[in-house]
């Protein structure tokens, strides 16, 4: 389980979120373990069922004006009851001032309170985006990622099967390379994003030649930094008895970091132009997104034809009889 300490988060984001620490520095002890945020409105009224205390608590104008409307004694008790929970951090938005008792209690309970000049909405958004990318699941896999007509194609397959050579040919045909050999995949919301694991640039190994710099050789238009992954193509040596897809009605999917994407098992043999086939896969994918499925279209036509012919035959027999 990933986590980030409140101290580190403060150091990283204090400028972007214009944060200042109101409580004593020694209150920054906790850790954040989730990308979710919480507005503790109901908790402040004394309702603690399902109180998500382990999230960062955001107090906006609504909460602060509610607290200010309370009698001093109620305010003290309500806040104290809330701060008994192990809250990692509290952020007050819009630079609002909070009643002194809250600051006193927070120092006492060792819960840090920050003040941000941002509006609640802005703070919520930018903190969520930061935490989500921090807590996003990621993994590295052996493969090549290339943008073909805007479709992110992940080429996989055994070492030496020709992933890099295929990518090179695609680049020559005007497609764009993201990374060769090692792809870092991050799961964002419900999409997968692939990129290189380092920022050395777009280098590639071509057997027999060595390393080449794709961006230098083919120009900046031949590369990009990251891309959503839409389809995986697994290159595999041709086997005579293997059951390859012939019509295209059944769709295979592969699960990566909890996201499912289509996978195509592509048999390769000498003399076959893989780059063209990869382009066809990409175009077919776009076609399907637009609602046109060639395999379905053809088989539907065939079925209609069969029905029509059967009817004619039936009629023919009936006429004869």
């Amino acid at each position: 389980m990933k986590k980030i300490s409140v101290k580190v988060l403060y150091e990283l984001k204090k400028k972007d979120l214009s944060l200042t620490l109101i409580t004593n520095p020694d209150t920054m002890q906790g850790e954040i373990t989730t990308s979710f945020l919480n507005r503790p409105g109901l908790a402040l009224t004394g309702y603690f069922e399902r109180f998500d205390y382990n999230r960062i608590q955001i107090l906006g104008e609504t909460e602060i004006s509610y607290l200010q409307s309370l009698k001093e004694e109620d305010l003290y008790n309500n806040v104290k009851e809330t701060l008994v929970y192990d809250i990692p951090a509290i952020i007050i938005t819009k630079g609002l001032t909070i009643p002194k008792q809250i600051e006193f209690l927070a120092n006492e309970m060792k819960i840090p309170i920050f003040s941000s000049r941002l509006s609640t909405d802005k703070l919520f958004n930018s903190l969520r985006i930061f935490l989500q990318s921090f807590f996003a699941q990621s993994k590295t896999i052996h493969g090549t990622l290339i943008d073909v007509f805007g479709v992110g194609i992940l080429l996989t397959g055994k070492s030496g099967i020709g992933k890099s050579e295929c990518a090179l040919e695609l680049v020559e045909r005007g497609q764009r390379l993201i990374t060769d050999d090692v792809v870092k995949i991050t799961s964002k919301e419900d999409i997968l994003v692939g990129s290189a694991t380092n920022n050395y640039g777009h280098f590639m190994e071509v057997r027999g030649i060595g390393l080449i710099d794709v961006a230098k050789m083919f120009g900046i238009q031949a590369v990009r930094i990251k891309k959503r992954i839409d389809v995986q193509i697994e290159l595999m040596p041709w086997k005579d008895n293997m059951d390859y897809e012939r019509i295209g009605l059944s769709n295979n999917n592969v699960e990566i970091l909890g996201n499912s994407i289509p996978i195509i098992y592509l048999p390769i043999s000498p003399g076959k132009n893989i780059a063209v086939i990869v382009e066809v896969v990409a175009m077919n994918h776009i076609s399907k997104l637009f609602g046109y499925d060639a395999a379905k279209e053809y088989t539907d036509k065939l079925q209609e034809d069969l029905k029509r012919k059967a009817k004619i035959r039936e009629k023919h027999i009936a006429d004869k009889g």
Partner: protein
């Protein structure tokens, strides 16, 4: 399948020459070969993969071999590491 933890003991770390040595050695064998460094897992038979690890002096790697000749693969790779890839 064999897993083995190993430390980089040559001062220069895993630069191009040791990476090439590892890949050349590993490709002699039929077993699958992976190298893991923290959350990165790469194909040990790919030169870009091995260099992508950017494994510095003192860092720890995990070797994973799977196949008919896994024992021999791990043995030869371990010897390369121990010999500091002929450096220092």
């Amino acid at each position: 399948m064999i897993r083995k933890k190993i430390k980089i003991v040559n001062k220069l770390g895993m630069h191009a020459r040791p990476a090439t040595l590892i890949v050349k050695t590993a490709t002699k064998f039929r077993s699958e070969f992976k190298i893991i460094k923290s959350d990165m897992e790469i194909n040990g038979k790919s030169i870009m993969g091995v260099m992508t690890l950017a494994a510095e002096f003192g860092s720890e790697l995990e070797l994973v071999a799977d196949g008919v000749d896994e024992k021999f693969l791990i043995k030869e790779i371990t010897e390369l590491f121990a010999a500091k890839f002929g450096e220092d």
